[in-house]
Subunit: 254 residues, 2 copies
């Protein structure tokens, strides 16, 4: 029972308009590693944001009064704060050097996922506006070229409420259910399993993150091979939305 | 750049006093897979709890008044609630069918990690009382038998505040830093990385969880091979404590 996490070499510095699906196929061809049924491709959101060209020139931003207020409270630049506000449905918590908000997608995370790393100085890079669609475009390319059913996960690195350090999570998905529902399955003593829903897409994103970290930010795509329950997860229409806890069930936000 | 996640076959149903280190070595020998420097062994906490014999007979529990109160509010059995209270420093949130508390170890999770799955009816299984020590005992056994430096991670499956579904997390560790501190490293544009601390032990636990889920609860040990930054993580004295966000920095608990 083995799963392989393979970092794809030779992915160049990406720019707007690049065909990432094609670039992935070329990398796999150079490795002599043909796509197989059930392969999962995890792609760092930063790579997707770049090909989609969603960078923001911070010099073009005129901060609002609210942005100046939050900038003062957090020590962040008002222009960046304005970008975070614009990318958020709701600012949830602020403090010295942190802003936690709900993004337009519904994700609760720091700085609305806006990143100033791995981008030209003076620019900010938001999370792709629709990571499920981004994943679907790349999956369509790979499936139409290879004839194999695969899944694509768009990953981000995010912090957690109660634990230190950031981990890989799934913000977009295509081709598989992000949650693995094990209800009805039995434990070793033939009773119903208690922890019945596993966020397998997040686990795949975390697993890929271990490989992405191996090289100096140069491995934005990881192929995961050997998930033998792919059959029960396979779904052409699933999205990452089901990973988001609805606000009404969120007992910590109040 | 490849990492392998290998589920160890043939781990029997464990009972109190079993030498899990020895059992792991035997399984690896049968697979003809000798331990290598830098291997990480991820072990499900349920396996560790069993060999340590920390199961609780719910019939032996006399619930307190507070336990009856919380049982009424949550719909849980008063005996189980009493066990959860005893395993907790603080009850943080309760609601229909959930209790979130800080365990004696300091972890914020549901039901203080007390599990009724994979154990005889009428019994509950707490998280091992000192998972770092549990990890260290197993690591000592493996290192003394093989002469190779390895790391051991004790994993649990836990929910999250803002996301649906549970994922593998590290609750005990031995032989490596659980956090990978990348401060000072540069991004593609030669600026300091923003997300500088990665909870790599949690990512390893999540990666292993994907494999553990492959078989019907029959794969409690996963060997992870190929983490090429093991050198920078290697530490004989690190514990999982650094994964816990100190309460004073926890902005969601209030």
């Amino acid at each position: 029972m083995e799963i392989r996490l393979i970092g794809l070499p030779g992915i160049p510095l990406l720019t707007e308009g690049d065909d990432l699906g094609e670039i992935i196929l070329q990398s796999l061809e150079k490795m002599d590693l043909p796509i197989e049924y059930g392969d999962v491709l995890v792609i760092a959101e930063t790579a997707v944001a770049k090909i989609e060209g969603e960078t923001i020139d911070l010099n073009s931003i005129s901060p609002s009064e609210k942005a100046f207020e939050i900038a003062l409270a957090t020590g962040k630049d008002p222009e960046l704060v304005e970008v975070i506000i614009n990318a958020s449905n709701e600012i949830i918590k602020i403090g010295p050097d942190f802003i936690i908000s709900e993004t337009k997608h519904g994700f609760v995370c720091a700085n609305a996922g806006i990143d100033e790393s791995n981008i030209e100085l003076g620019f900010a890079k938001p999370i792709p506006s629709n990571p499920d669609n981004s994943a679907t475009r790349i999956r369509a390319k790979i499936e139409s070229s290879t004839g194999k059913k695969v899944a694509v996960v768009i990953s981000d690195t995010q912090g957690r409420a109660f634990r230190e350090g950031a981990i890989g999570v799934a913000i977009g998905i295509s081709g598989m259910e992000p949650l693995w529902d094990r209800r009805g399955e039995k434990d070793l003593y033939d009773r119903e399993l208690q922890t019945t829903t596993i966020a397998v897409a997040d686990e795949l994103a975390s697993a890929a993150s271990i490989v992405m970290g191996q090289a100096h930010e140069g491995l934005p795509v990881v192929l995961i091979r050997g998930v033998n329950y792919f059959d029960s997860l396979q779904n052409d229409r699933a999205t990452a939305k089901s990973l988001i806890r609805p606000k009404k069930y969120d007992v910590f936000r109040k």
